[in-house]
């Protein structure tokens, strides 16, 4: 508002300038007229014309400056309003996106909780299955048959444990598969290694894959 007021004052002053010019030319003193009468008439007219010309230039320049100032202020104000609106729109947009991200984060948290719960459930089920079967296996009189079942049980139990979030369980599974792993287990060991955050376990997993591959190759060669 202050800018508007300022520009209005400048404009009104500029518009009054021609009147000022007229005053100078119309109310010139008699002494001046007498002295001019003494000189040549052409010289007086030229001077008046020059003064009027300068006066007019100043008047129009002031007017132009006033108009330019006003236009600048007006465009500046409109630009500011437009920019402000654009920023507000962007802020709204960002806020909406932030809300979406927060909702997505909540969904991820919820999914992780569910996965953890499922992993725990699978782990417990795997444990119960092992314990129950182990008790049964130990009741079998024929040790050979019992051992065949027991080895299969232990193998499957450890393969399932590769996906456990418990470090000790995962280590035990890797240690077991280092000696008893089969080519079909490599997929599971690789899956574990790719998702494990612990570098030590990743290294151990890749070492075990190497051991299994080496053993398999050796067995093939010995058969040939």
């Amino acid at each position: 508002m202050k800018l508007f007021l300022y520009s209005a004052i400048v404009l009104s002053l500029s518009l009054n300038m021609p009147n000022c010019g007229c005053l100078i030319s119309e109310n010139s003193s008699p002494q001046y007229e007498q002295s001019f009468k003494k000189s040549e008439k052409g010289t007086k007219d030229d001077l008046v014309l020059a003064v009027n010309a300068v006066n007019n230039i100043l008047t129009y320049m002031s007017l132009a400056v006033a108009i330019l100032t006003f236009a600048t202020i007006l465009f500046g104000y409109l630009g500011y309003k437009d920019l402000k609106r654009k920023i507000e729109d962007k802020v709204k947009e960002v806020n909406a996106k932030m809300k979406d991200i927060e909702a997505f984060k909540d969904q991820v948290k919820e999914s992780k909780k569910m996965l953890d719960l499922q992993e725990e459930y699978v782990s417990i089920s795997n444990g119960y299955l092992y314990q129950t079967t182990e008790q049964l296996v130990n009741q079998i009189d024929d040790s050979k048959i019992a051992m065949v079942i027991y080895k299969t049980l232990a193998h499957n139990y450890h393969v399932a444990n590769l996906y456990s979030s418990n470090n000790e369980t995962r280590f035990a599974a890797l240690a077991y598969l280092r000696e008893n792993g089969e080519p079909s287990d490599i997929t599971h060991i690789q899956a574990m290694a790719s998702s494990d955050v612990d570098q030590q376990y990743q290294q151990l997993a890749s070492e075990i894959i190497g051991v299994i591959k080496y053993k398999t190759e050796n067995e093939k060669n010995s058969h040939n």
Binding site: G127, Y130, Q131, E134, Q135, V137, N138, S143, A146, M147, Y150, K151, L153, A154, Y157, N167, E168, T169, F171, A172, A175, Y176, R178, E179, N180, Q200, L204
Partner: protein, 147 residues
Amino acid sequence: MNDSKILFFDDEALTSESLVRNLCNNYSYDIVYVSSIFDFIDKLTSEKFSLLMIDVMAPVPADLEALGFNKEEIADINATGGMNVGVVLASRVWRIDDYAQVPVIFLTAKSSFQLPRKDNCCILRKPMLAKNISQEIDRLMNKNQVL
């Protein structure tokens, strides 16, 4: 009924608890099970055991020096990344006067295993039926009594 107490260390709790249950219920052994080396050392100093059952492969504990391992043992454990923790643990135990002659059963899934040069120890490959473990326990206990 067997009066001797056995201390059993294995980092994998579920399978070990199941095995302990089998040995206690079906063969009447008195077994104390621990899943960490810290608890193992703690139990050794607070109670008296006639036989030890030790899992060979286990994760390397954080502060080995505080657990009484010497420099050579620590270097040995670290070099193998926990693949022979049980063997080093047994040698640490045999340095204790009260346990210098204690029989040890090593349990491992390893196919190749270098048994320590001691008379009173043996190796059992996992998985092992409770019946076979019981036979080995009795054998080592009897041998130790004769000695």
